[in-house]
Amino acid sequence: MSVETDDGHGHGDSHHLPAVEDWPKGFGEASWWPFIAALGGGGFYVGAALFILGRGTEPMLNPMIGPLVFVLSTVAFLTGLYGWLYHAFIVDFWEGEADSYGFPLKLTMLLFLGTEVATFGGGFVYYFFVRAGAWENLPAIVTEGEVLSTLVIANTLVLIASSVTMHYAHHALLKGDRKRFVRLLGTTFGLGLVFLAGQVYEYYEFIFHYGFGITDGAYGTAFYGLTGLHGLHVALGAVLLAIVFVRALYGHYSPEKHVSISTVSMYWHFVDVVWVFLVVVLYAGAIV
């Protein structure tokens, strides 16, 4: 979930109003966006619950209800998110004091990344238990050493390259080279999509050509659990990149105003570092 958050800071007077622009208009301490976003957020879980009830040999309800609720929740969630981010950041972008507000947002991203360490930690601990434990019933791709393929190495290089382009995009923005900034930001987004495509292709290869799925032993669970969790994070990162890219195309950001570039950049580097760690322990670590 995105933690690139709202502004709600500084309108000068002694008690500032956090939500002046939000709908319902004209109040200052009222906004429908959180409620709508939370409705969508809660709806994801209700949808997942209904999906589970629709599974099995004797489903309790139509198996399509869960996914339907999920889709509707996505609409609500994105609407809430869009309204919130729009009113917090976009509508008042140049007049707001985004830069002095940069520290809270960067701190928040850092805290969010701290929670991500714990989130990934659970999956890694499982893998370490398996790897250091019996380490039996291994799939063919591990016993024959094929898990660390050229595809993975190429994909890793793509993701590392995207971190580099992200860094230099930010650098170009700070130096006022706007054209280069937009170009490198677009490149980063493109490389992120290439990585995701490579990941999908790898899953396809493993599942359909090697017959290696998530239920194939302890390693299958670790492999798809961890790469899947990471893939979701890259997908979220790509969404964030798309948002800042579109905003950059519309003329946002300057050497003084670049907070969301910083926070998205932090997130992207983090996802990159997790991937490198993952390749070392899950791919290379499985065959050495």
Binding site: T5, A19, G80, L107, T115, G122, F129, G217, G225
Partner: protein
């Protein structure tokens, strides 16, 4: 369908109607037509001393759209109270069942379901949210901030909770529908393989609900850290940051790493249940992995709940001792020390699980070490009282009760941390008594104390002091009867979690165990009476209590202990009344000067 399940469903339904009626009535929703979001309101929607006129819509829309930290605090509080009532009803049914050794009123399955729901509800749906209620309302006031750092995230974090609760309790709601969904019977620890193999989809719903509340708690924690780091007023430095905000900061730091890890573990459990993965299967990580992951979250969770409550006591106790908190710095250091240590003790929940003896020894050492910062706090509180001008107001009584219960709950913990003692007592009622002294005797007590202490600020009115004192004494006596009896039952090796206790008389001292169980049930009923008095008092006083016109209702100014939140309250009063309208009431024994019909 068994009649007891019907009755239970009716009871739960009644509870919800009651709770909703409570919210609706105290907030004057009825005075305005709901769903008229566009209309400005001249007053603050029934709030006695609102300073922010016309910044909020009227009616129910105000509550659905609010991004004001004080309103969100009230929402959290209401939510926590509803959860507390359900958790209390659940355990009351269990206690009445346990009055006799045989299975009398409810089936053992229903007992298991209530046991699970009581634990999950009290820890996740009452404990964490009620702390968020206090923190939301008062941390910004105490640090001189306009609001939380992220007001909209604050609102989202709250609104994720109601769907979470609905999913967690879903298994009870579906009982009258006669579907194949029942309440989870996993116990709050959800140990595998039991929790993987129970086919009841109610377990899946509960896991999903728990994950959602975890997301909410994590968002709240990030928000609190960002607020305390970046939104402090110009005159609030790290050196003079108040003790409650310190404990909230530490708690949020713990949440940051504990809840996301639980989230991952819950997802892994869901995958194991539904998609055939091997996370906690014997051929994968094994059941012991669940215990490691769960308690790596679960033990810090204890400190997530108790540290802010210790902060409340450290904040309120000095006000009525007429002295500053003794050794303020060391109370802060001990808070941070407990925060760090909390992640290094989890395996003391697993001494009996066959883990490596060397691991056991090291976890025994770290667990015993926690006694040191805990004792630092206790002695600082006692020393604060020393030579103080102690005034036994209701908040103060709850603070002193808190310390007294902490001594019992804490020291029994020291015994349990020792591996050989743990072997004897871990699966018995001794453990139940130990942690209930902490969760009920401390966490709930500090919560009650804080509710009474801040009641004038939140409602602009004063509670009924006689009822409040009756509430305290009933709670104190009830808690000590119930949970001391549990410690004794533990020495008789009464196993915990059991729905019945019809043991072989040649193996168990049945007479004593029965007597202790009956004492526990009587104690629970006494607590119930006290809690009902509290609820009546709060609801009635919110609507009808004497209005507080004195900005210093606790007479803390003369001791130089006037808190920032009451300074804020003074500004609100001045803004509302346009000047000093203080009327000295009687010199109240409770320190609270009130007007009107108390």
């Amino acid at each position: 369908m068994p009649p007891e399940q019907l009755a239970l469903t009716a009871l739960v339904g009644g509870l919800f109607v009651l709770a909703f009626g409570f919210v609706a009535s105290v907030k004057n929703w009825r005075t305005r037509l709901p769903f008229v979001g566009g209309k400005r309101l001249a007053t603050d929607g029934g709030h006695a001393h609102g300073g922010s006129h016309a910044h909020k819509p009227s009616g129910i829309v105000r509550w659905l759209t609010t991004v004001d930290h004080k309103d969100i605090g009230i929402l959290y509080g209401t939510y926590g109270v509803i959860a507390f009532l359900w958790g209390g009803v659940a355990v009351l049914i269990m206690r009445i069942e346990l009055f006799t050794a045989a299975s009398t009123y409810i089936s053992p399955n229903m007992y298991n379901a209530l046991l699970t729901s009581h634990g999950i509800t009290m820890l996740f749906l009452f404990g964490t949210p009620i702390i968020a209620a206090f923190a939301n309302y008062f941390v910004p006031l105490l640090i001189g901030a306009d609001d939380m750092a992220f007001p909209r995230i604050n609102a989202i974090a709250f609104w994720l909770l109601p769907p979470g609760a609905l999913l967690i309790w879903a298994g009870f709601f579906t009982i009258p529908l006669d579907l194949a969904i029942g309440p989870a019977e996993t116990s709050w620890t959800m140990y595998t393989p039991l929790s993987v193999e129970q086919v009841n989809p109610g377990v899946d719903l509960m896991l999903l609900g728990l994950h959602l509340t975890g997301v909410s708690a994590t968002m709240g924690a990030i928000n609190f850290i960002a607020t305390i780091f970046t939104e402090r007023g110009d005159d609030v430095s790290w050196a003079n940051l108040d003790i409650f905000s310190w404990t909230i900061l530490t708690q949020s730091g713990i949440i940051l790493f504990a809840f996301p890890l639980l989230g991952s573990a819950l997802i892994m459990l869901l995958l194991d249940r539904n998609f055939g993965t091997t996370f906690f299967a014997v051929e994968g990580g094994g059941p012991i992995l669940w215990q490691h992951l769960f308690w790596f979250f679960g033990h810090p969770e204890v400190y997530i709940l108790v540290l802010p409550m210790m902060g409340l006591v450290s904040w309120i106790l000095p006000k009525f001792a007429g002295r500053k908190l003794f050794g303020f710095k060391f109370v802060v250091y001990s808070t941070l020390a407990i925060g760090v240590l909390s992640f290094g003790v989890w395996a003391h929940h697993m001494f009996g699980s066959g883990i490596d003896p060397r691991i056991r020894a090291s976890f025994m050492a770290t667990s015993l070490a926690i006694a040191i910062p805990s004792a630092v706090k206790t002695f600082n509180w006692i020393t604060t009282l020393w030579n103080g001008n102690v005034r036994l107001t209701t908040p103060m009584l709850f603070c002193i009760g808190f310390i007294s219960n902490f001594v019992l709950g804490g020291i029994t913990g020291v015994f349990l941390a020792s591996v050989p003692v743990n072997y004897l007592l871990h699966e018995t009622y001794y453990v139940v008594g130990h942690f209930h002294y902490v969760v009920m005797g401390m966490i709930a007590f500090a919560g009650f104390g804080a509710i009474y202490y801040w009641f004038p600020i939140v409602t602009g009115r004063m509670y009924n002091r006689t009822l409040a004192k009756a509430h305290f004494w009933l709670s104190m006596i009830g808690v000590n009867i119930t949970f001391f009896a549990m410690l004794l039952a533990g020495y008789f090796e009464m196993p915990r979690r059991y729905a019945t206790y019809e043991f072989n008389p040649s193996l168990a001292p049945l007479a004593e165990i029965t007597l202790l169980h009956q004492a526990m049930t009587v104690g629970a009923l006494i607590i119930t009476v006290g809690t009902v008095l509290w609820l009546v008092n709060i609801v009635w006083s919110w609507k009808k209590g004497g209005e507080v016109t004195d900005p210093d209702p606790w007479d803390t100014k003369e001791y130089g202990l006037h808190g920032r939140e009451f300074a804020w309250f003074e500004q609100q009063l001045a803004a509302t009344d346009g000047g000093e309208t203080e009327i000295d009431g009687e010199v109240a024994t409770d320190g609270g000067e009130t007007l009107g019909d108390e």
